[in-house]
Amino acid sequence: MRVEARDIRKTFSSGRQEVEALAGVDLAVEEGEFVSVVGPSGCGKSTLMEIVAGLVQPSGGEALVGGEPVKGPRPDVGVVFQQESAFPWRTVLENVEFGLQMHGVDKKERRERSRDLVDLVGLDGFEDRYPGELSGGMRQRVAIARTLVMDPKVLLMDEPFGALDEQTRLILGEELLLIWSRTGATTLFITHSIEEAALLSDRVVVMSARPGVVKKVVEVDLERPRDSRVVGTPEFSRVSGEVWGTLREESMKTLRGRAS
């Protein structure tokens, strides 16, 4: 299912002050494609994702999923958030089952589907543990499994590994590629890590400092299936270098803006 952003604008107002977060973002993610969005902090990349997810209304422009304008959350669009979102009062298996349970899937079927997902994200043996007993990386896998069990055709991820250390992030990224290749979901992945973007994506979209617009799109010409060993290849260096070239400028704008 194709995802498209058409001239998306968003202005937040708090009191009398108006802050323009997005100033006309255009981008498209083709069916089955994996696209990352990187940008300096505060550039509105999370807002962009929430607009595509139907959680936030744009001030202008529109998001399209499968050719239809997004009016609100839809069941075939799955979202994984940056913040801790595994439910602490539910076990791993109960967390993964949540969406199916809420939509009235009978117990036997939802157990089965959830167990498959628990296996897929490598949490077998932890089905009956509570999130409080798991590491941060494992909790994020729970959140990913809870989203994937709904069989989304579109997967939106907002810095899902943002709170984790570099090594864990690369390993989980590798696992995500494996899972993604099996589901074939169209994926929009928000990150601030250039390495992560280069490792995972077909294309990397670089956003400008606030107000956010698309500054550059870098094609990643690395063979699939890939794993984190591509980090040492010349193509990886080229992509990272090109992304950083643009991002550096934008990040400096953000930093200068803060200093003034």
């Binding site: 913040q83 801790e84 809870r146």
Partner: protein, 250 residues
Amino acid sequence: MSEAARVRLARWAVILAAVAALEVIPRSGLGDAITLIPLSEIIPEFFELLVEGEFTPHLVATGGAFVLAFLLAAATGIPLGFLLWRYRLLRRTLDPYLTTYYAIPIFAFYPLLLAVLGFNILPVVVISWAWAVVAVILNTAIGLGEVPEVLVKVGRSLSLSRWKVLSRIFFPAAVPYVFTGLKLGMIYALIGVIASEFVLSTRGLGYLVSYNYVNFSTAAMYSAMFLILFLAILLNWTLSAIERRLYAHG
């Protein structure tokens, strides 16, 4: 010896020292012999009263009022806490009253309650309900307010109805806070019942203490005090056990 073992030993030593002091101080003639009597004279009296069933009606009265007051506090406090969280204007209006609430000695209003409700169990229940309910209200409202926004977004992204988001995300997420409110409410309800029985009742353990005090039955008075102490300890112990089970997986 490990630190934990030493701490345990020291705790027992504190209890032993207190018990010894209760025996030794009255015998040594410090304090007057009518109000301070040695432990060895209280204990036989305690068991006698217990076996003869002297405590029973008072225990039933106190227990009944306590359970009633607590259940009322839970049944009214949780919905009121929900309303307070849900309606910002209500919260802003009531905020100064709620935050100063526990500074007001509500027991001072007992003559009013007696006049309005009569000399029966009602004023006792009303006072301890009033004393307990605000803790439940405040903790429920705070708990619902502290639910992380991302959990709500998860619910919305799964296209859940507002009711499902409320019942399946907000409420379970707020349980630890609500439980804290109920725990405080339970303790306040017990304090409320005992304290108001001193002045508002002809039955109950609080009444028993004050009755025996007025009649110079010092050993019986202390026996009633001990029974109250045991009840409070038992209550606290039960609550801790429930809490441990609730958060075993925290």
